[in-house]
Symmetry: C3
Subunit: 340 residues, 3 copies
């Protein structure tokens, strides 16, 4: 493998960063401050790691103006060093190698439009009337059902399953094990026996969405489930039917969102959150991990739930008292009144 290398001045240009030190310094990789070797660049985005600056072997550091005051070696100075890290890491990322064309073991249905620069992997199965855009990669073993449309520059890792009629826009990244378009959980009760409600809607995925491994997104009951542009979903997230997620919202792993809930734009939702159905969360809400949202959130802000972690012996006592809380509050009130 040929080593990729860049000069510090090339990287400065890419980042729009101010260069300090030797512009010809060769950079061939990126690593954390305490792991970096000569030839690698590193970054300081967390002030708690500042002490590593004194000992790091990195050949250059990306850092913020206020940190640069105390650092005299090679550096790229910019307001958001973490963004700098993201951009430099992209330089050193191995290219996904996928030959354009349809692998001979793939099975493709009738009336499909598959762009000539798209890559359809081994053992892929594609239904009828499927559209796949330029440079999109469909990984090995994916199954894409009838009438689905996938835009340009998308990447489906192996073993993704897409149900019929799903619409996926451009530059969407979908990880292995993802299921999109499965039936929403809709049933009517007929004297104790559940009657399935056919799910006639579909799923719309916007531009630049990322969907983590084994995440599931159900199709809508009548209208569509909608994931707007720029949304980032981590692994093992469950999106129920008719959920609507606003643009540029990021959701960490194992969060579950129940049916017909609408989440705003620019929200950040911690891992393992549970959001009940038929509510609305406004823009720019931050949910701490494992938050349980049982009603609409109408004001931006940071929200959470739970008791924190306790030694189990103490927890058992607190659990008993939690159940008595209303009684405790009333008794306190009584004492207060008596005192008056």
């Amino acid at each position: 493998m040929l080593e990729t290398s860049y000069t510090l001045s090339e990287i400065a240009k890419l980042l729009g960063a101010k260069l300090q030190g030797n512009p010809e310094c060769k950079i061939n990789g990126i690593a954390a401050l305490d792991r970096a070797q000569e030839g690698q660049i590193s970054f300081l985005s967390n002030a708690q790691l500042r002490s590593h600056l004194a000992t790091t072997q990195a050949s250059a550091i990306i850092l913020a103006p206020k940190e640069a005051e105390f650092y005299s070696k090679n550096a790229l100075i910019m307001d958001n060093p973490y963004l700098g890290y993201a951009k430099v890491a992209a330089l050193f990322q191995p290219k996904l190698t996928a030959k354009s064309g349809v692998h001979k073991t793939a099975v493709v249905g009738d009336h499909c439009q598959i762009a000539s620069s798209a890559s359809i992997g081994a053992n892929v199965v594609i239904g009828d009337r499927v559209v796949i855009g330029e440079k999109t990669i469909v990984g090995h073993g994916c199954v894409i059902a009838d009438d689905t449309t996938i835009g340009i520059d998308c990447c489906l890792w192996p073993r993704v399953a897409i149900y019929p009629g799903v619409h996926i826009a451009n530059r969407v990244l979908i990880h292995s094990g993802v299921v999109i378009g499965s039936d929403g959980f809709g049933m009517a009760n007929d004297n104790g026996v559940w009657q399935k409600i056919p799910q006639l809607g579909s799923v719309d995925i916007g531009d630049d969405v990322e969907i983590g491994a084994n995440t599931t997104i159900d199709r809508g009951a009548l209208d569509n489930t909608v994931i707007e542009q720029g949304v980032k979903l981590d692994n093992q997230i469950q999106i129920a039917h008719n959920v609507h997620i606003g643009a540029h919202t990021a959701i960490a792993a194992c969060t579950a969102i129940a049916g017909s809930t609408k989440i705003g734009k620019y929200c950040m939702i911690g891992g393992g959150a549970s959001i009940v159905g038929h509510i609305e969360i406004v823009d720019k809400v931050i949910l701490v991990g494992t938050a349980v949202v049982e009603k609409s959130i109408t004001e931006p802000g940071v929200y959470g739930s739970g008791t924190g972690i306790l030694p189990f012996r103490e927890l058992k006592k607190s659990i008993i008292r939690f159940r008595q809380l209303d009684d405790i509050a009333h008794r306190l009130q009584k004492l207060e009144k008596a005192k008056q």
Copy 2:
């Protein structure tokens, strides 16, 4: 595509509903009250949407007798309009098109009995001695291991994995990514090192069960894991070894049930619930979403857990006090005694 259409009197007959208005009115689809176009039928099952009746463009409405008093246009009147919706939606559901027969890319083992009307999709792998009933559809890329039996009229969406010796009854619907029959999590501790306990049981799935995307159901340790008839499981549910779920119980997404727990019939379990192992929950229990059940539930009723959602700043204060709850209760008691 030919448009499917029905007269209102045909639909009334199907639903057993009382017809009000024009029996010849043509219906070609179903939509929500506020989205319906001319030619579509809608329904009112949630009193909060009653105001939409005045403005809806729907050509007919399914509604309950008490709502019909105030509605004079085309209507189908029945006690459970939501059930009416389920049945009408089924009329307009696209038919799953699956050719009977075994796709040429499928790999089928020895001594299998695959019904002639069954459909085995592309790249399916079927082991030895597998039985698949009439009209059952096995989606593309499914893997069905040795000695598994699947009844009639079942539908496995693409990429389902079934381990050896599983028994699936009739009209079972299984979504993509489901795994049935994986090993239960059984280990014996041998001086700190875990020794695997082979899982010798299997899984029994009853008639009319639905299993959501990426749900996992483990095989039993010695006896079988059992899902009784009519049970409905949403996405990403985890059913551990030797769990027994009673008939017609519905479980929402991301619920986890630990080993050997027995859940009754006609229960409704909200999303994200966690149920500890080796307990019993009686019939007709309702668990609110994210309920954490750490002991048996012996009385029908509605149960839940948790603290609700709070602004994070307040949550942090409450978490500190939660840990002091037993102390708070004792101090309150002391004050009460002093007052006497």
Copy 3:
């Protein structure tokens, strides 16, 4: 199928147990005390089941010395009967039948080293430069990307997806639907828009690890995600980038561990636990199911979270009071002061 059978003395030898009764007694299976038939062996590891000893039909029982005092029939006596059960169950486990060699429908890339005794199933796709060790079984429909190494005696059940460059040691058991090496959830915020941080690390899985169905393990951002030897992971667990799990730790289903967290050796983590990122948990910590760990745990012990299960009517009252807890504590303090 030939029936496998062993004499009681053969089994005693295997277990290193003391034999009581007839050494020639034939044993052809294992079952729970209340289900065992003649010819089967059973075990008593839970004192609550002691009463079954009087009525069991089992031909022999594995039990602890203190229980054996009251049991006079055929028995194998050892300190850890549950471990005895694990070992005897292994005797009666059906052998996984997998022909060595590469199935004709498998697609294998260039420069791979696949051991001659390995078994590569139907429709498997293997990338370039992949190494697969002796006697390892790769189940049907698995996809293994470029540059991945898998050791000897591993078993991948069908439909596992491994991303590029993952390292899996020996005797690793991976269940269906598992994804290893997917991108960690790393993003830098660029004026509201998320920029992906390429995940340049990989995943190291140690010897004797077991990974349950549909579990996901992300690759590291710069360094590797590490699962040390003997770790046992149940189903639907989420391991984020750069997590490090110490040897012989067992984690039950649906637990999620956020990025860069380090978990010690010999820990036991109950189902549905949520562990925040960038913390450390020392060796030998036990987390009760659904524990939410939001800070480092520095002392071994048993920890948990939550409110327990309540009737929903009571829960709603307690939730209101939980939010008032800090106020309640202050008011109590005031009363205490007034009394002094």
